[in-house]
């Protein structure tokens, strides 16, 4: 379980995020510029909150009062970025093994096979990221994040850079991920369809503030919820 209660001033926007997840897939939903990415960057350890506390299960990741700030590389939190961010100078294979190697985990062939099959990238292992399509790149990024055996998986609009056909291609993998890998997920998106398909819990982010909402409320078409795009 993840609990977040942090504040951060970023230029004009004041972020005040307070929510807790119960496992499974949690959506951070809201318009662009609302502070969604900043919130998960704080969870990942890439952005330092001004004050507050973040805890994952019984590990305190950040606590301004206790002066705790676990660096990103020791948090064991997988992150799938909007643009994949595969290392261009490594093959797909090396990208996949990077997390295990950098985290000092032992080799686990069975797990590796399982993840490669899960995101269906067995045929791409020898290729360079530059030669992959957008959809393939995101699948490799998913595999790479899973292979570091994360305690939590952050997904920052992983489908945003893809066209509609590619989105439909990746969505089933994300659903399989949630059901088979059993890693708790935070899924950032402003697309209702994706959230509806994947998430059991929704936190709405607006102007830096968070508010838990009911999935059904989101699905009811009202004027108060504007759907971008």
């Amino acid at each position: 379980m993840l609990s977040v209660d942090v504040e951060k001033r970023l230029g004009e926007i004041q972020i005040a995020a307070k929510f807790a997840t119960t496992g499974g897939a949690t959506a951070l939903f809201g318009p662009s510029g609302a502070g969604k990415t900043s919130i998960i960057n704080m969870i990942a350890g890439l952005l330092k909150p001004d004050r507050g506390r973040i805890a994952l299960d019984d590990t305190v990741l950040f606590d301004s009062d206790a002066r705790i700030n676990l660096p990103a590389h020791r948090r064991r939190i997988g992150y799938v970025f909007q643009e994949g961010r595969l290392f261009p100078h490594m093959s797909v294979q090396q990208n996949l093994d990077y997390g295990r190697w950098a985290s000092g985990l032992p080799r686990d062939e069975a797990e590796r096979e399982r993840v490669i099959a899960l995101v269906n990238i067995g045929g791409l292992l020898k290729r360079r990221p530059g030669k992959l399509s957008g959809g393939e790149r995101q699948r490799v990024a998913l595999g790479r994040a899973l292979l570091m055996k994360p305690r939590l998986l952050l997904l920052d609009e992983p489908l945003a850079s893809l066209d509609r056909a590619r989105k439909l291609e990746i969505l089933p993998y994300l659903a399989r991920l949630r059901d088979e890998a059993r890693v708790p997920m935070i899924y950032v998106s402003h697309q209702i369809v994706e959230i509806q398909r994947l998430c059991s819990q929704v936190v709405r982010v607006e102007d830096g503030r968070t508010e838990p909402v009911n999935l059904e409320v989101l699905l009811r078409p009202t004027e108060e919820i504007e759907l971008p795009h």
């Binding site: 997988g78 970025f81 961010r85 290392f87 261009p88 990077y98 000092g104 360079r128 530059g130």
Partner: protein, 230 residues
């Protein structure tokens, strides 16, 4: 027939040795300072940047003189180093120090630019995958910056090879110890009948410079293909 006298060979060998040592010793410092300037914000950053670039804008003789009063036997740092057995004044090591200092701004500039060109987001991705700052640097930043690092090393090497003013001010012009190609050419042009010897060294200087340029192009292209290609 084109052949060099033993003294001329010594000058060539000395120049190459000084330039290699200057470049190799400057490299780790250059990498560290370029990384600091490219990736960190700290108090005094502008000052550090200024000091690094100073040899580029100061008259070389001034740099040489500053080295002399700092690293000379009676200098602040030189006196201390002499006590532990490291002597720079009037030695080839002093020439390497002068050449390294003169080439340093070019080295740092090229490496810094190549660090800045690397998407910081890739480094963030590495850290979420468990890589510490050092490992991120070693496995992501460094390999991606390799073409720029090679370019910087060649610039530093070329500068070191051609350095004259700071070297001659700091360690003088002693044949066999501190007389590089440039200093030897200068000496030959000052004595009657030295033209032929000077010309031979000029040809050597041109050949070395061309080889260095072509080699660096080759390395940079190879590194570029390997790391940015598909």
């Amino acid at each position: 027939m084109f052949s060099l006298t033993p003294e001329e060979w010594i000058a060539v060998e000395l120049s190459l040795r000084i330039a290699f040592v200057a470049t190799l010793v400057a490299l780790p410092f250059g990498l560290a300072i370029a990384w600091l300037l490219a990736r960190k914000e700290f108090w005094g950053k502008a000052l550090l940047d200024g000091i690094v670039h100073l040899p580029l804008v100061l008259p070389p003789v001034v740099t040489g003189y500053l080295l002399l009063i700092t690293f000379g036997r009676r200098g602040l740092v030189g006196g201390f180093l002499a006590d532990i057995g490291i002597v720079f004044s009037f030695r080839w090591t002093g020439a390497a120090l002068a050449c390294g200092v003169m080439g340093f701004p070019l080295l740092v500039r090229a490496i810094r630019l190549s660090f800045e060109a690397i998407d910081k987001k890739l480094e963030d991705a590495a850290s979420t995958l468990g890589a510490s700052t050092f490992w991120t640097f070693a496995t992501v930043t460094l390999p991606l910056a390799l073409p720029g690092i090679i370019a910087g090393m060649v610039l530093c090497f070329a500068k070191a090879l051609g350095e004259f003013g700071a070297t001659i001010t700091f360690v003088s012009n002693i044949p066999g110890e501190t007389q590089t190609i440039s200093a030897a050419i200068y000496t030959f042009t000052q004595i009657p009948g030295g033209d032929a010897a000077a010309f031979r060294l000029v040809v050597i200087a041109v050949v070395i410079a061309l080889i260095a340029l072509i080699a660096s192009e080759w390395f940079a292209r190879r590194a570029g293909l390997r790391y940015h290609g598909d």
